[in-house]
């Protein structure tokens, strides 16, 4: 149907108007199904959870009195919750900075080699694609105090067997190191892809003028890579913040809650101790914090790149 034909014919005005209406909103035919599902599986659960957090709901009892913000207060004054919040912060800070430093270093070094790049990249991709639960179980075996390869290796250079996951002083950093092992390749992969798209001209002229390489890095590489760096940091931050799988199989939060993350603590609160509404309050707090952090990072990112 053609627009000018339609407007010439007054008899068709109703159907034409309908046609134009559907044309103007045709995108909704394509988008609506996906959008409805997302509303049902993301937005509704979050609203539901917010509702639950304002009542006292347990799996055991049918009575559900309204308690206002009491659940939030209880959570914020709960030592175990605060401990797991602190641990989560620890994971975010050390896992993100560790994986970022290693991944960035690997990406910079990668530009300096020629042969075997494809193979090196392929090997480094492996941890990213492994299920975190498999990574955790594998490192449990590596770190076993009796027959684990790490202790066997330490034994060869004269260090006695360690129970790194069972000691409060070493468990947290050990889990973080395993997390870094799994995810620094992701930072590497993202930054390496970003570097491959950088223009060559600024580098060549800088080299011709004899600019030292650390200055080239600071003045050329770093500014041009900024959006890529932000994306890598953003992804690592939100993933470290939600850490669950690895800790669940490696230490299950112990010893003495030293490795307990927020996800793990809230899971236990809801499903082991059946305190559903407190866990809901905690998860809403978690959502607010990660929402704030990623909103700030997104703002910086939007300044760098045009999204959507």
């Amino acid at each position: 149907m053609n627009e000018s034909d339609a407007s010439d014919n007054a008899n068709q005005s109703v159907s034409t108007r309908f046609y134009h209406l559907t044309q103007r909103h045709r995108h909704w035919f394509f988008i609506a199904p996906a959008l409805l599902i997302l509303l049902a599986v993301v937005i509704y659960p979050i609203l539901f959870s917010t509702g639950v957090s304002l009542f006292r709901v347990t799996f055991a009892s049918q009575s559900r009195p309204f308690v206002g913000l009491q659940n939030f207060e209880r959570m914020l004054s709960n030592d175990d919750f605060l401990q797991s919040a602190f641990n989560t912060l620890y994971y975010v800070v050390f896992s993100v900075s560790g994986s970022f430093a290693l991944g960035f270093a690997a990406a910079l070094l990668f530009r300096r080699v020629t042969a075997g790049k494809e193979l090196l990249r392929l090997i480094l991709i492996i941890p990213i694609t492994m299920a975190p639960i498999v990574v955790g179980l594998m490192w449990n075996w590596m770190l076993d105090p009796l027959f684990g390869l790490v202790n066997w290796f330490l034994g060869l250079i004269g260090i006695p067997g360690q129970t790194m996951l069972a000691q409060a002083s070493t468990a947290r950093i050990t889990v973080v190191l395993v997390d870094i092992w799994q995810w620094y390749p992701l930072v590497f992969l993202i930054l390496e892809a970003g570097m491959a798209t950088l223009p060559r001209a600024p580098y060549e002229s800088a080299r011709l003028e004899g600019v030292p390489s650390w200055l080239i890095f600071r003045r050329i590489t770093l500014p041009m890579l900024r959006p890529v760096i932000l994306v890598a940091l953003l992804l690592r931050t939100v993933d470290a913040f939600r850490t669950f799988d690895i800790v669940r199989v490696m230490t299950d939060g112990g010893p003495h809650l030293t490795t307990e993350t927020l996800s793990l603590y809230l899971y236990r609160t809801a499903f082991t101790f059946s305190k559903l509404s407190r866990a809901a309050a905690g998860s809403i707090l978690m959502l607010l914090v990660i929402g704030l952090i990623s909103a700030i990072m997104f703002r910086y990112l939007y300044r760098e790149v045009e999204l959507g």
Binding site: R26, V41, A106, L120, I190, V228, V249, G308
Partner: protein, 279 residues
Amino acid sequence: MRVPKSERILAYVILITMASLVLAPVLAGSITAFKPQIIWVSSPPTWIFEPTLENFEFVFFTRKGWLYLRNSLIISIGSVALALILGVPAAYAFARFRFRGSKALMQWLISLRMIPPIVVGLPFYAMFLNLERTFNIGLRDTYPGLIITYQTFLLPLVIWMMRGYFADLPAAMEESAMVEGYTRLGALLRVVLPVVWPGIVATAILNFIFAWNEFFLALILAGNRTSTLPMTAGTYIVRTRVEWGNLFAVNLIIMAPVIVLTIILRQQLVKGLTFGILE
């Protein structure tokens, strides 16, 4: 880039060390899956032995591993299929139509990537329980229940990845098809989809990997009937004794298909992992 020889050698040494540290635990662990039970734990580790498949046999048949493999396949393939059916048309609309709010909607879709799974997992459990009690609709421990739940992380990714692939194609393609009498939907199905096929495959593979490796939502919402492979891996650790050979057999069953798929996908991997933000 021209690099001094000494610098290049240093780069090789460090990168090869990194690659070895990545590969060593994976390989050392994986060969345990082929060790007979008496040498699962031995110190120093046994490197030379007669490889056996008895661990796989035990895991697969005695411990019903084939059932969990089947569950994992049904849930992963099912949820990816649903995400594609819902997400591909939406991605097409985002790539082709300019409309108010399209940008905000796309940004909202990325923001879903930031939501910790506990935030949706927790209410899902309670909602499923409510549905069961009130309407007698059982979704807990069922395939549809998990397939729907997995849309929280699959659907946004499908839309973002596919939007990129659609945007790479010239709009003239469907326009000329529509001049020839195809409707918009007909042009999408008959003309565009056959060309964008490799993008769909890449999207499907990456999403399959995410669904396949998923542990947290399955832990909350699956049960005896729908346990997935990652859920069963942990069951080989008992306080008193860890069945390492069997455990690594399960690990290998989880890892092997993903590694094969990754090799197929490797050119598209970064684009997918970063939601194609960095175009």
